[in-house]
């Protein structure tokens, strides 16, 4: 009996130290991370050799998917709140507290401003449906992207514009976006790319 007991005792490992390490690492990851947010559309960016990193703050993102739908978003929840309020004012639409709150949680959104209210009332699962993401109009008759960018610029003067487009987007869509930006004197912007695979020399 006593022998068995000794043997059993010896398998007891003190997990306290390991637990400490685990939670230390956990804390590190929580503090350093920024969670990957799901974008409403899947965008596969083209590759380039450029190694400039994009900042995470002071940025407005223009997301373009393959079919040419345009999405727009800025960083910071408080800024988003200001943005949506101003936009609502400019286009004369009324949004409730809850809807504004919903908007501040979105990284990017892509709908004509008229359809924004309905979109914000959708359930999360339904938002991914392509039928519910119509894209921001960038036509010459109704160019809402221009208003979005202009309004975002009023809120944050230092922000940069980043265009993240799918590699198969037709150039005609990009041209329309570039033209719109040109018209409001936004001549410097960033194109988001991914690092070239298999470094060519």
């Amino acid at each position: 009996m006593p022998k068995v007991k000794v043997a059993r005792k010896s398998t007891w490992v003190d997990m306290t130290a390991m637990c400490d390490v685990a939670f230390l690492l956990l804390t590190f990851f929580i503090l350093t991370s920024n969670i990957v947010k799901k974008e409403p559309v899947l965008v596969y960016t083209p590759s380039s050799i450029s190694e400039i990193k994009i900042p995470e703050t002071n940025i407005m993102t223009i997301l373009v998917d393959k079919s040419g739908k345009v999405f727009f978003g800025i960083d910071g929840q408080d800024r988003r709140e200001q943005l949506i309020n101003k936009m609502a004012q400019k286009y004369g639409i009324i949004l409730s507290e809850a809807e504004i709150k919903q908007y501040t949680l979105l990284d990017v959104s892509g709908n004509p401003i008229g359809a924004m209210k309905d979109y914000l009332n959708l359930k999360l699962e339904e938002r991914e449906n392509p039928d519910n993401n119509l894209g921001i109009p960038v036509d010459s008759t109704d160019n809402q992207l221009k208003t979005w960018v202009k309004t975002a610029r009023e809120i944050n003067r230092d922000s940069r514009i980043a265009i993240k487009a799918d590699q198969n987007t037709p150039y005609s869509v990009i041209k329309k976006i570039m033209k719109s930006l040109q018209q409001i004197d936004e001549n410097r912007y960033n194109l988001i790319t991914r690092l070239e695979e298999g470094a060519e020399s």
């Binding site: 956990l26 990851f29 450029s50 590699q167 037709p170 194109l191």
Partner: protein, 204 residues
Amino acid sequence: MADISSDSGSHKKGGKKRSKKAPTRIDFTPMVDLGFLLITFFMLATSLIKQQTMEITMPSDKKVSEENQTVAKASQAVTLILAKNDKVFYYFGQSENAEIVETNYSNSGLRTMLLKKNYEIAKQVEDLKVEKVKTKMADEIYQKRLSEIKAGKNAPVVRIMATDDASYKNLVDALDEMNISSISRYAVVDVDSADMQLIRGKIN
């Protein structure tokens, strides 16, 4: 699990009463499990890598006053026309009587042409890079000298014309080639009808 290993089980009839010692030993194994599970989750859910970006400055559409306008010499001008199905055409000088050549985005296509055109500057940039490594040059000085070299007199001026059928990838590839071949003077411009004429027969 999570047993407070005091005496459970060890109490046999008439056993020694040693159970009162060390009653509060907690098994941390489940907690460690939990900890690592959460770590795994955070590692997968986070993006430590920032996105790459490429900076681009477009010409303003405001009218530029006569003296500020940079007039490119015809001998330095290169025009790229990006067409559909990943085709690229280029010609030197002006569009009248230009000899139009078809090429592609590969190493031996566009890049070779641009490097040849920009030979002097590309060579100087290469030398500067070597010098930087050798002398451990400060980054600021390096950047300054780099931009000096790139603004050199004989630098080619590239006009990138993308047709509506070209894809965004084509544009980024073309801009990327500018970076690779150290060309700093380039602009993305619209295709005019004269240039469309030039490539008309060649696109299908």
